[in-house]
Symmetry: C2
């Protein structure tokens, strides 16, 4: 399965959010079931970050969402985000 997660930082928190999201990449790529985990930034809005992810199963994605590094990062970003949208997708 695939995921597109769109994270919008508050204007005053862009650098903090960018730094926290970048910390997710290395440990996540080592997680069981992680096939792809690519972070992007919106060329037209520096506050908008997009992950494109591929996971071998929904269960392993859910395990990822409970992982220590994700939990710690989300805690560090608490109050610094405008929105987080996670779309779970099936590729044609």
């Amino acid at each position: 399965m695939h995921v597109v997660a769109t994270i919008i930082a508050k204007p005053e928190s862009i650098d903090l959010v960018e730094s926290e999201l970048k910390k997710f990449i290395a440990p996540t790529l080592k997680e069981e079931g992680c096939i792809a985990y690519d972070l992007h930034r919106d060329n037209n809005n520096p506050a908008t970050f997009v992950f494109y992810e591929e996971w071998s199963s929904k269960d392993l994605l859910d395990k990822h969402l409970q992982s220590p590094h994700l939990t710690a990062g989300l805690a560090a970003m608490a109050g610094h985000l405008e929105s987080v949208e996670v779309l779970e997708l099936t590729k044609y």
Copy 2:
């Protein structure tokens, strides 16, 4: 560069939109500069479709957006879409 395009069909137009979007894939993959062009559907909302794309340049992406098959498909979907959001992205 990368693109995430999120297309939401009107509830009564899901099949039409799905069919039109699927028609984009083959001709687009043949276009100059097209590195990746993957269509997905939201597992939790059958009206929501997401393209994840990679292009070798912004110019060639713009050329794609003016291509005959995209123009024809967008015309065929006119009035059948709730929203279209195209994010132009830079990958870390």
